[in-house]
């Protein structure tokens, strides 16, 4: 029973709602796409006692919510959610399914795509509709300084995962209304093959690198853990957060939470200080939305230096120290 109007579905990933706004961001982008396609924006919600999320999704752009509520869905289950999404998609035939690239979404979406025998593009940084009505999915790729545009010409639905922070949510609209389609939990659903023995929240991370306005990022060029630590001092002075490249995290100069890059955190600071970072695509894909970039590197030819508004050819550590000193002087109240 395919819907009359093409539908764009957004998977309702409501866990960690207050930190993770990716579902709202996708609803916002889906609203733009729906306009171009003459389509309807829908959300799917699987869970138990989910009224809060249903209301939120409608207030943020969903015109229809497919809701499966059952006690058995009280905790996130990849197996069950994949099974439900497969059945719903076969029944209602959405044209597009968008999923946030959370840890859960990155496990869930590939399996749904496989069951539906369709394509999936990972970690999109752009989504658009082309003149033929196809979803054009832009993903950084191929270890080159490249963006790849990908379509799924034949198979349906067209599926993409999108990193949190790529799109901006639309404001909450209390007056918005939407249809709620309730679907019973299918009694013939195979049981979950994964048993959850225990689950505890890890300590909350006080840092919000993803939405910081000022970010101080460091890479291998900082030279050592002790030197890297100075970046925290600089960030503290400026009221910013510290980010790091993979080599810096692998060297344990910074926590993994600080990883900035294509498959890690996307940041969109107004000002980005980049210290000792050469600018491999895995990193630069995560900073393309930075407003003003000040990069320090000994190598003037480094890719990071080409991206910068101000490229400082010098030792990253020395410049970091000089900045700390100067800011301390100038920021003295």
């Amino acid at each position: 029973m395919p819907a009359q109007r093409p539908e764009i579905w957004v998977f309702g990933d409501y866990r960690n709602y207050f930190q993770n706004r990716v579902t709202l961001q996708l609803l916002s982008r889906a609203t733009d796409l729906a306009e171009k396609r003459g389509a309807l924006v829908c959300a799917t919600v699987f869970g138990w006692d989910t009224g809060e999320w249903v209301g939120e999704y409608i207030a943020h752009g969903a015109r229809k919510v497919y809701l499966v509520e059952d006690r058995r869905l009280g905790r996130y289950s990849c197996d069950l959610y994949v099974g439900l999404m497969e059945r719903l998609a076969r029944r209602y035939r959405p044209e597009i399914i968008l999923v946030g690239a959370t840890s859960f979404g990155r496990e869930f979406a590939p399996r749904v795509a496989k069951r539906l025998k369709t394509g999936l593009t990972a970690d999109c940084v752009g989504l658009d509709i082309d003149e033929n009505g196809l979803l054009v999915q832009t993903a950084p790729a191929f270890g080159g300084n490249l963006l790849t545009r990908i379509v799924t010409p034949q198979k349906r639905p067209q599926m993409a995962t999108v990193r949190p922070g790529v799109f901006r949510e639309i404001p909450h609209d209390h007056g918005a209304t939407g249809e709620i389609v309730r679907i019973d939990f299918p009694e013939d659903m195979p049981p979950d093959r994964v048993r959850l023995v225990s689950s505890e929240r890890t300590l909350p991370v006080p840092r919000h690198l993803g939405n910081a306005e000022i970010v101080v990022c460091g890479g291998r060029g900082m030279g050592s853990k002790g030197r890297f630590r100075n970046l925290y001092e600089l960030a503290r002075l400026l009221g910013g957060e510290v980010g790091a490249t993979r080599p810096a995290v692998y060297a344990r100069w910074a926590d993994e939470d600080a990883l900035v890059g294509q498959a890690d955190k996307h940041i969109r600071p107004k000002v980005l200080f980049s210290f000792g970072i050469s600018g491999a695509i895995q990193h630069t894909a995560g900073i393309v939305d930075a407003g003003f970039i000040i990069a320090v590197n000994k190598n003037p030819k480094a890719a990071m230096m080409k991206m910068a508004d101000v490229a400082i050819v010098a030792d990253a550590h020395q410049v970091c120290l000089a900045l700390i000193k100067e800011f301390k002087k100038r920021l003295r109240a």
């Binding site: 399996r111 054009v136 000022i214 991206m307 920021l331």
Partner: protein, 274 residues
């Protein structure tokens, strides 16, 4: 027990020469290496395999040169390698890749207990092949796993997922994708090197050996299609500052002080200018 580790050879991105004319990396000049997450998966498999007395099979799909990482895997302690290489596989997306890997496993290691893959690769970073391979084989899976133990017919897993530390149990056979950060891969012992470059147990197969219809793999068998590849936002008209750090910082703040003040919402003008 039988473990299968699926791995991929990726270009060593940090060593890639950049072509400013075409704004691309010269992948043809790239050295290949074992994808770091795959190495973690192998390390986990070898450690667990030693305890459980398991046979470890390393599988890769790629061009003929991808055999290098199978030799490396054998040097580290894997028992045998399987290289799936065929021009017909070029252009496979994750859908076609997981399909191909599944057929190979069904033929060459049908009685596997545990499949391990890296959680993602450093070149395309999709993180999709592992979960899709589990779907192809009709087995349960868990992604981004840090620790695995096996007891009886059950795998016990630990992982951190979206801010939750989870302990999971899955009956064997199952598939896990292994996170990048935990284990230091072992050094390759000299005897391992001898093993790897002597008479090695590496089998090379093509799509015909797997009984696969070539139309189901490669670009033809892939639901996704690449439209084009472009260079993101070209270099800005950037200001270059050189000299002594102290001088540079003064110049930076002088030239951009109002801008930086506005951006960080703090007044950084020198006190005499206030």
């Amino acid at each position: 027990m039988k473990f299968v580790v699926c791995m991929k050879q990726v270009p060593m991105a940090s060593e890639l020469p950049w072509d400013p004319k075409t704004r691309t990396l010269r992948r043809d000049l790239a050295e290949g290496m074992m994808n770091p997450a795959c190495k973690q998966a192998l390390e986990l498999a070898l450690g667990l395999g030693q305890k459980e007395g398991a046979q470890v099979t390393a599988i890769t799909m790629g061009p003929p040169m991808a055999e290098e990482i199978l030799r490396e895997a054998i040097a580290m302690g894997a028992h045998r390698g399987l290289l799936i290489t065929d021009p017909a596989l070029a252009g496979s997306d994750t859908y076609a890749t997981s399909f191909t890997l599944a057929r190979a496993i069904e033929i060459f290691c049908p009685d596997f207990d545990l499949i391990l893959t890296g959680c993602h690769t450093t070149d395309s970073e999709t993180a999709q092949v592992g979960p899709q391979l589990a779907e192809e084989l009709g087995i349960a899976s868990a992604a981004y796993v840090d620790e695995v133990t096996v007891e009886g017919g059950t795998a016990r897993l630990r992982r951190v997922s979206d801010g939750f530390l989870e302990t999971l149990e899955i009956d064997l056979p199952c598939l896990v994708t292994v996170n990048t950060t935990n284990r230091s891969p072992r050094y390759v012992p000299l005897s391992g090197l001898e093993d790897a470059f002597g008479e090695v147990n590496i089998l090379s197969v093509g799509v015909a050996d797997l009984g696969i219809d070539p139309a189901l793999v490669g670009a033809d068998g892939s639901p996704t299609r690449i439209v084009d590849v472009t260079a993101p936002r070209s270099g800005k008209e950037n200001v270059v500052l050189t000299g002594a750090p102290k001088k540079i910082v003064e110049e930076l703040l002088e030239r951009f002080e109002s801008r930086i003040s506005g951006l960080i919402r703090q007044d950084i003008r020198k006190s005499d200018a206030r």
